[in-house]
């Protein structure tokens, strides 16, 4: 009989598995949450989260990225209508249409929009945990948690997950963007404003 606690080992494996299942498609993602965030928390934001089980890409700039088999992910920082005009949104996805409508509804004289996308494992919900600003850019944080046992989902399945975050910065000239994803949501920290959720969420119904 082993003299270690299997429960502790399984907890560790479970966390790693959750992160791995979420996939990572580029765009400055890191798998592990930082021990301490840098920059100031941004609390005056509007948030839209969408999911689409059928889409591979929700938005893209330039040519659609399918030739190498990669699925859509990454970020786009939009601080003007002309920048937004250079983006394409998937025409066959309601989730992408929602992101597009949210972005186009922005008053770019006062605010800007950060668009994020990545693949999320079908059996997990994604939850927005906050956004921070430093001199160079924006940093966002998300976590994932397992969906209820009685909800049907495939262990191997993945959904396109998109986020539009309207932040109170215009002409900010950000150059750095990052997202931290945690495989365990844990308790919410005190002192972080939830912001205004424009609808949708990390669940599959969004």
């Amino acid at each position: 009989m082993p003299d270690w606690s299997r429960r502790r080992a399984l907890q560790a494996v479970g966390t790693v598995t959750a992160v791995a299942l979420a996939g990572c498609t580029g765009g400055g993602d890191t798998a592990d949450p930082p021990t301490r965030r840098h920059g100031d928390p941004v609390t005056d934001y509007d948030l839209l989260q969408v999911r689409d089980p059928d889409a591979t890409q929700l938005f893209w700039r330039g040519d659609r990225e399918t030739a190498d088999g990669r699925v859509g992910g990454g970020y786009e920082y939009v601080d003007s209508e002309s920048t937004l005009d250079g983006l394409s949104f998937a025409s066959d996805s309601d989730a992408a249409a929602d992101l597009s409508a949210f972005a186009f509804a922005t008053d770019f004289d006062e605010r800007s929009v950060l668009l994020l996308a990545r693949q999320v494992a079908e059996c997990y919900e994604a939850e927005f945990r906050g956004v921070w600003r430093d001199d160079d850019g924006l940093e966002t944080a998300f976590c994932q948690q397992l969906r209820p046992a009685d909800e049907s989902c495939s262990r191997e399945g993945e959904d396109a997950f998109g986020v539009a975050l309207r932040v109170p910065f215009a002409d900010a000239e950000f150059t750095s963007f990052g997202s931290h994803w945690s495989g365990d949501c844990g308790p919410k920290p005190v002192g972080i404003d939830e912001g205004r959720n424009a609808g949708g969420g990390g669940g599959r119904d969004a």
């Binding site: 606690s5 299997r6 969906r147 046992a149 049907s152 989902c153 495939s154 262990r155």
Partner: protein
């Protein structure tokens, strides 16, 4: 691990060391012309942390019924989880299936002659693992509620209260009472921790299947731990034994003062802000520097630990902690004095390091008790700890899983650790005398 096996490891590692000593083809790697070079491969091959002896501390009997109860309960919990699981959520199904298979491995055979508290603890953890699977399964099936969890928590709390209500630290002798009831205090503390509820569960447990399993496992562990504590106490205590709770509590409090006095008189004149630069010569990269860091680590802040333990009411644990702390304080004082006297520079050769290692093992062997339930058994622990840490350094075990050849820094650290182990072993007899005296042993 049984004692004979450790001895065998020690013997084989020393023999192995001797065998490779004459091999001229082994690599010798040095970092610079100023730094002595050692045969790092030879040193790494010799190291074996498991070779450090760990005497059996618990003098009481471990009833067979305790491990058997964990086995039966664990099997019963697992029997409630079907092998062919099916849940709509594919991840839940896969993880539960995997957990069940792993937990079941520990129940392939019934316990056979469990005679140590360590092995009993392994059966307790196996039972916890089985409870975790069952708890997660019940949560996923909608058969576990918050009320169920509250009931289980209340039961553990009730069992623990009952166990603590009649606890007078009876023993054959006051020293044996310290050893026995220190073990029981550990178990009671673990049971108390199981009640803390580390995670806040969502109301809908089907959405928190694995977190629910962990909570159920913690509470099952708490229940099993109290049962073991009660079973061990019942097996040890007889009607004719004296109650020593006042003697042990008084000794713990007095030993806390003895630590302060010892720090003032023979302890090292160092604190949190001290540095190797305080010795006014360049110690960087020498065993002396490592010895200093070990000494500083072990004495700064440790007296508070004894006070905290007394405040919790864990008097036997406080006596043992005071014994450890006194050994560390005396050892650190000796170490710092030696560094001031210019000792513990770079060993000149691999052979010298081998000799220092053997001296450390011999010193630790001298501290070993001839019987369990003695003061030597727990007071000698800091020397064994230092020796085990040094062996891990020499083996290059830190960070490297595959390549376990130590580098120069590992070897220097190990040599500092061997030196500390010798100082700690040298401190043991005087500390044993003092602890026995404060306990009124033999009176």
């Amino acid at each position: 691990m049984p004692d004979w096996r450790r001895r065998a490891f020690l013997a084989s590692s020393v023999a192995g060391l001797s065998a490779v000593a004459g091999c001229a083809s082994l690599p010798v790697v040095g970092n610079s012309d100023d730094e002595p070079s050692y045969d790092y491969q030879r040193l790494g091959d010799a190291a074996d942390p498991d070779a450090v002896p760990e005497p059996s501390l618990y003098p009481g009997r471990v009833p067979d019924a305790l491990a058997e109860a964990h086995y039966e309960r664990g099997r019963s919990l697992l029997d409630g989880v079907p092998a062919d699981l099916s849940f709509p959520n594919g991840v839940v199904e896969a993880r539960l299936t995997d957990q069940r298979e792993r937990a079941a491995e520990d129940f392939a055979a019934a316990p056979d002659g469990v005679s140590s508290v360590g092995t009993l603890g392994q059966w307790r953890r196996a039972r916890e693992d089985a409870a975790e699977v069952r708890g997660a399964y019940d949560a996923a099936s909608g058969d576990l509620t918050q009320a169920d969890i509250a009931d289980r928590r209340a039961r553990v709390r009730s069992d623990l209260t009952s166990f603590r209500s009649d606890w007078s630290y009876r023993g054959d002798t006051v020293v044996e009472a310290v050893v026995v009831h220190r073990q029981l205090e550990r178990l009671a503390s673990a049971a108390r921790r199981s009640l803390l509820g580390r995670r806040r569960l969502r109301d809908d447990l089907q959405s928190a299947v694995f977190a629910a399993g962990e909570v159920v496992a913690d509470l099952e562990g708490g229940r099993a731990t109290v049962a073991d504590a009660a079973g061990l106490r019942d097996a040890y205590v007889t009607d004719g034994m004296d109650a020593y709770v006042d003697d042990i509590a008084t000794a713990a409090s007095r030993l806390e003062d003895v630590i302060s006095a010892t720090l003032r008189n023979v302890g090292p004149d160092i604190d949190r802000e001290s540095d190797v630069g305080d010795f006014h010569r360049d110690l960087e990269g020498t065993p002396a520097a490592e010895l200093f860091w070990v000494a500083q680590r072990t004495v700064v802040g440790t007296p508070n630990m004894v006070g905290d333990t007394i405040a919790r009411g864990d008097y036997a644990t406080a006596v043992a902690s005071a014994g450890h702390t006194l050994v560390d304080v005396v050892a650190a004082g000796s170490a710092v004095s030696a560094i001031r006297d210019g000792e513990h520079g770079q060993p000149a050769s691999t052979d010298e390091i081998v000799e220092l290692r053997e001296q450390a093992f011999a010193a630790v062997d001298d501290t070993l008790p001839t019987e369990s339930g003695s003061v030597e058994a727990f007071v000698g622990w800091p020397a064994r700890r230092a020796l085990r840490d040094a062996e891990s350094e020499l083996g290059g075990y830190e960070f490297e899983d595959e390549d376990r050849t130590p580098d120069h820094r590992d070897v220097v650290r190990a040599v500092g650790g061997y030196a500390y182990a010798v100082y700690a072993a040298d401190a043991v007899p005087a500390v044993v005398d003092r602890v026995e005296s404060e306990l009124g042993a033999g009176e």
